[in-house]
Symmetry: C2
Subunit: 333 residues, 2 copies
């Protein structure tokens, strides 16, 4: 990886920035040997361990209006990180900050892959027992979608499944409410026949498996689940909240009395691999597909470990040339 | 409950019909003292234990087209059950069969409560640690919704929270993707100001807590979550699938070796109450709100226990006069 240009890490973005972000960037450099460019306010970063720094004086708050912030705060860490990718100083960007502003920065500074109507957020959903996650997209970039965009999401998701997760012929499903072709709202009813015509998959080797339901997200029955960004974000957060709630309740039972605590200790070796698979810090975050560059969107509460994994995913995407492959998958339909 | 008219139970609906359904109906009569009217093919019901039977010669299949089936199969168990409520022979109907056909039967035979634009499916979501579930509606009746319908769902959900779950001033949230008022798609953006004006809550004593997200569904932060039937059904099935997947993975770790099995056995007393709270058979199913009668929609795989609980919920709704209260909550806005 000696000729990999650095990964621009937004040091100021995220609930635990800059401490955990800088710590993660340092670990990515030390443990994975990745070149990292920290973007933000140098005097707030603490000890950067000798990492390269790109100074940016402004910080877009987690709850700030994305469009306005990106237009007005031209010296923000997010805008500067995206510019670093555009200008070739960095090979990819990673941020745990304001998701909307991350998308807007990447879109406005890097532009779109030729032919892409709208970028989409692709989120890997772990599926216990399966080797690869289910890819959900759009997980929140576009609250309102056209049927043709969903077809492009299918193409990009399938390329991601093939190139990043090694799935030869990704099975693509349309998220709906009932498996029969006619089920769902008008967007699903219009999108279904577009996906049922195999022409769209000519560039990505995917197969359409029809409508899937929310319960299929954590299953091994489908590789790529396509939906609009509103539904996708609701599904993703519902899943995250439900799993967290259940794990919390189970952990509470483990602490009921001394016998429970001893029993829970005995189970830990068996439970830890499952925990590791479900830990959101382990996936490296979501990927913004369709912009002309690699952009990783980590969750807001990212720890140093999450940043390490985000940098690893970013480097993988760069070295495997994912952005170029995405363009190849975009057969017009 | 001596003057309660019988609860019409669709003996033919559900993956485990008629065996588990009839068994559940018998238990509802024996254990809860409820009058039950079994609706369906008498010669397929087996031993009905002396329960009253309403003969119906047709069965609407689980995957049949709801509208067509209900129009054509006038002697189906679902249509006959709904007619029994309309005609006063039964006080409520319960079915674990085709959800769409259950809704269509209830709507076409019972009609709507005066002023209701569209009935909605209200599903209780258990929240570990909380005394009452979160009510999600619409969980699948209307794939496409108008903003005004969502306001009515808020009113009906709040009445349900108050009358059935004893929540004095139900907190109502609008399911969206981000908590700020401007977040979401056009439906959410148009609905938000309607709910922010407190006039709608005059008849139900609710308060609007703003946008909520998918992760709030299993929390104690909101009592009623309002959404369109497409999003609601996706969220519900995503939650069900995710919890089932996680529980399955955890149970698999319990069986890793003899030590794990022993530890799991020791934990069971602490885990069972949680399991009972999350068991879908324990909630009694979803409620179709807005039709002029009590209609309980149990999940397709309902066991006898699920039917017992559905009959219990139906009887509660009848004796507390929920349908009348729902009408009172419908202040025009």
């Amino acid at each position: 990886m000696t000729d990999l240009r650095p990964i621009a890490v937004d040091a100021m973005g995220g609930d635990r920035a800059p401490g955990e972000i800088v710590a993660g960037a340092r670990r990515a450099a030390e443990e994975l040997g990745l070149p990292v460019l920290l973007v933000g306010r140098p005097d707030e970063m603490g000890d950067t361990g000798g990492l390269e720094v790109l100074a940016a004086s402004e910080v877009i708050a987690m709850e700030a209006d994305p469009g306005q912030s990106v237009r007005r705060m031209k010296d923000s860490s997010l805008v500067r990180a995206a510019e670093a990718v555009r200008d070739g100083r960095a090979s990819a960007m990673v941020s745990a900050g304001n998701t909307g502003a991350t998308m807007a920065s990447a879109l406005l500074r890097m532009g779109r892959i030729r032919g892409v109507a709208r970028p989409a957020i692709a989120t890997p959903i772990p599926s216990p027992g399966a080797n690869v996650p289910t890819i959900l997209l759009d997980a929140g970039a576009n609250a309102e979608c056209q049927p043709e965009w969903l077809v492009q999401f299918a193409q990009m998701g399938a390329v991601l499944g093939r190139e990043r997760y090694g799935v030869d012929a990704p099975r693509v499903g349309l998220l709906s409410i009932g498996e029969e072709p006619g089920k769902g709202d008008p967007l699903r009813k219009t999108t279904y026949p577009l996906l049922a015509d195999p022409g769209w998959a000519a560039g990505c080797g995917a197969t359409f498996v029809g409508n899937v339901e929310g319960r299929d997200l954590m299953s091994d029955d489908v590789d790529v689940v396509v939906t609009d960004g509103f539904t996708g974000n609701v599904a993703l957060k519902t899943l995250e909240g439900g799993l967290r709630s259940l794990v919390g309740a189970i952990v509470a039972t483990f602490d009921t009395d001394a016998a429970s605590r001893a029993a829970a200790d005995a189970l830990m070796p068996a439970l830890l691999p499952l925990y590791a698979q479900l830990d959101p810090d382990g996936t490296g975050g979501a990927m913004l597909l369709g912009v002309d560059g690699v952009c990783i969107i980590s969750h807001g509460s990212s720890s140093a470990t999450a940043v390490v994994n985000a940098c690893r995913v970013a480097a993988d995407m760069v070295t495997t040339g994912l952005v170029g492959h995405l363009g190849t998958g975009l057969v017009p339909v």
